[in-house]
């Protein structure tokens, strides 16, 4: 019994203390240099951009090896809260102007750099083979149907709300997801009978979900803004500009259209 503390405990202790010291110094703010002296660009992008932005980031890092892009994907409203509470973002790309305006009002982005770089539309998503035979928006107005939407604070929720209001439909969703990925996964796993998601998300998940088109007259156009973070160092500003130029340039545009986005 009375033997000294285990070696394991000692190793954990010593290793831990060393690691605390290194962790505390590593990731302070904004642009940092990693071991290979790469300039890190923190990109906060809305969840519906995850697939396309990962491709854009790969292409960007290939072309500009001096940069390393560190993305955070979440619902636009979530990202706004995170940034307003101190998350560092050199570039912000959201799914609606309402949310980026909040960052403009709180001086967390440089509004001069703000521009619309892509547009998107909404579609009804249903499990593969459309078991509930949904043909359009009016079919969603059915109390026995499990419909999932995004939370109204998120752009995908606000857009869905606009569409339903325009069609004079009142449906009570079974779940309000914090991002559009949640809507798609609830539908693709069969936990929901239908949802309203971006056209691009539906396109990316065609092997697990089917889509029911929302006609243009009933649809909205989601406008995606991109902007540079406010109060960046000169290096960070330049890095952010380079990334934004890549996204709005031909390389970015090609990738975005491949994923189903339209250009403004």
């Amino acid at each position: 019994m009375a033997s000294p503390p285990t070696i394991g405990a000692r190793v954990i202790l010593c290793g831990g203390i060393a690691a605390i010291l290194s962790a505390c110094t590593s990731d302070s703010t904004g642009v940092t240099n990693t071991g290979r002296e790469k300039i890190v660009i923190n990109v906060a992008a809305t969840a519906s951009l995850a697939l396309s932005f990962n491709s854009i980031i790969d292409a960007f890092e290939m072309q500009f090896p001096e940069f390393s892009v560190s993305p955070t994907f979440a619902g636009s409203a979530t990202l706004v809260t995170q940034i307003q509470n101190g998350a560092s973002a050199d570039v912000v790309a959201l799914a609606d102007t309402t949310n980026i305006d909040k960052l403009g009002a709180s001086h967390h982005i440089d509004t001069e750099s703000e521009q619309i770089f892509a547009t998107n539309t909404m579609t009804i998503v249903v499990p593969r083979t459309n078991p509930k035979k949904i043909t359009g928006l009016t079919d969603l107005d059915n109390a026995s149907l499990n419909v999932v939407l995004c939370a109204p604070a998120q752009p995908c929720g606000a857009y869905a709300k606009q569409i339903l209001e325009k069609a004079n439909l009142r449906i009570s969703p079974k779940s309000l997801e914090t991002s559009v990925s949640g809507v798609v996964s609830k539908v693709s796993t069969g936990q929901a009978d239908a949802g309203i998601a971006y056209y691009t998300d539906a396109l990316a998940a065609t092997d697990t979900i089917d889509t029911v088109r929302i006609p243009e007259s009933q649809n909205i156009i989601a406008r995606y803004p991109i902007a540079r973070g406010a109060m960046l160092s000169a290096i960070a500003q330049q890095a952010a500009n380079t990334f934004i130029a890549f996204v709005v340039g031909k390389n970015g545009a090609d990738i975005l259209t491949n994923y189903g986005f339209m250009l403004p």
């Binding site: 033997s3 503390p5 590593s26 302070s28 955070t72 101190g86």
Partner: protein, 270 residues
């Protein structure tokens, strides 16, 4: 030592209810194992996203556990040996994160250490230090939810510790530090190990406080549970593979340390 006795008469119906309870716990876990796509197990596990999250999780959980040990030990000691007004409140506060929804912990941490937080605003204004949404925040979130486990286990271990041993050491001239290191800690070693493992397992599994206070950035704050959630949201089977890995690691740790924590709990319970 053991109290297991066949002479004890179990109340009627206990076995059936006990089995139901065990099944309710085991069934979801078994269901998960059944659905793991074994053919792409290694592919999923060796993907960039998985290895990044895995190494981040190991790193942050070891740091937060060490922090919990270093800071929780003195607190547990004082709670066990001192009696002061309001000790009941301090005890309750120390255990609160165990029962609090972790997301509440995350929001609370944000209001403390975020740039608009009580301490965080000063840190940011004076030194330009931003804690929220960094790797340090992920460590803090894990620490916040996990340290109570260590405090609870160690406090009861210190309470059960036979003070005559310490007195003997003191009369032989050992100081308080030396007594602690050479007598007390070796005696409470089972509890120490149990506390460390429970704390580490809790830190490793931390999700709610992390995603609220540290965000979800791969390589920086996207720990394994967050990666699992993202993979699940994206309908990726990787979620199953990573869940299986987490489950196995925690399970193996608990089984290996069974003796330690059983005897630690016994000490606490008697």
């Amino acid at each position: 030592m053991t109290h297991r006795s066949r002479a004890v008469n179990s109340p009627r119906g206990f076995s059936a209810v006990a089995i139901a309870c065990g099944v309710l716990i085991a069934l979801p876990l078994v269901a998960l194992v059944i659905r793991v796509p074994w053919s792409q197990f290694w592919l999923s596990l060796s993907s960039d996203a998985a290895t990044t999250a895995l190494s981040l999780s190991i790193r942050t959980s070891l740091i937060s556990t060490s922090l919990a040990v270093v800071t929780g030990l003195p607190l547990a000691w004082l709670l066990a040996h001192r009696n002061f007004r309001g000790i009941a409140i301090v005890r309750a506060l120390c255990v609160l994160p165990m029962v609090l929804p972790p997301v509440v912990g995350g929001v609370a941490l944000l209001y403390a250490f975020g740039t608009k937080g009580v301490v965080g605003s000063a840190l940011n204004d004076w030194w330009g230090v931003r804690l929220a949404f960094t790797q340090t925040a992920a460590v803090l979130a894990q620490y916040f939810v996990a340290v109570p486990f260590f405090i609870v286990v160690m406090e009861s271990a210190f309470q059960q510790f036979d003070q005559r041993l310490a007195h003997a050491a003191r009369t032989l001239g050992a100081g308080a530090w030396r007594t602690l290191v050479t007598i007390t800690l070796p005696v409470v070693r089972p509890a120490l190990i149990a506390g460390i493992v429970l704390t580490w397992a809790r830190a490793l599994g931390e999700f709610g406080a992390t995603i609220t206070f540290a965000g979800n950035t791969p390589g920086r704050t996207q720990t394994l549970p967050l990666a699992i959630y993202m993979a699940f949201e994206n309908g990726d089977d990787q979620a199953l593979v990573l869940s299986f890995v987490m489950m196995t690691v925690s399970f193996v740790a608990l089984v290996l340390l069974r003796q330690h924590w059983i005897s630690a709990l016994k000490r606490g319970g008697q």
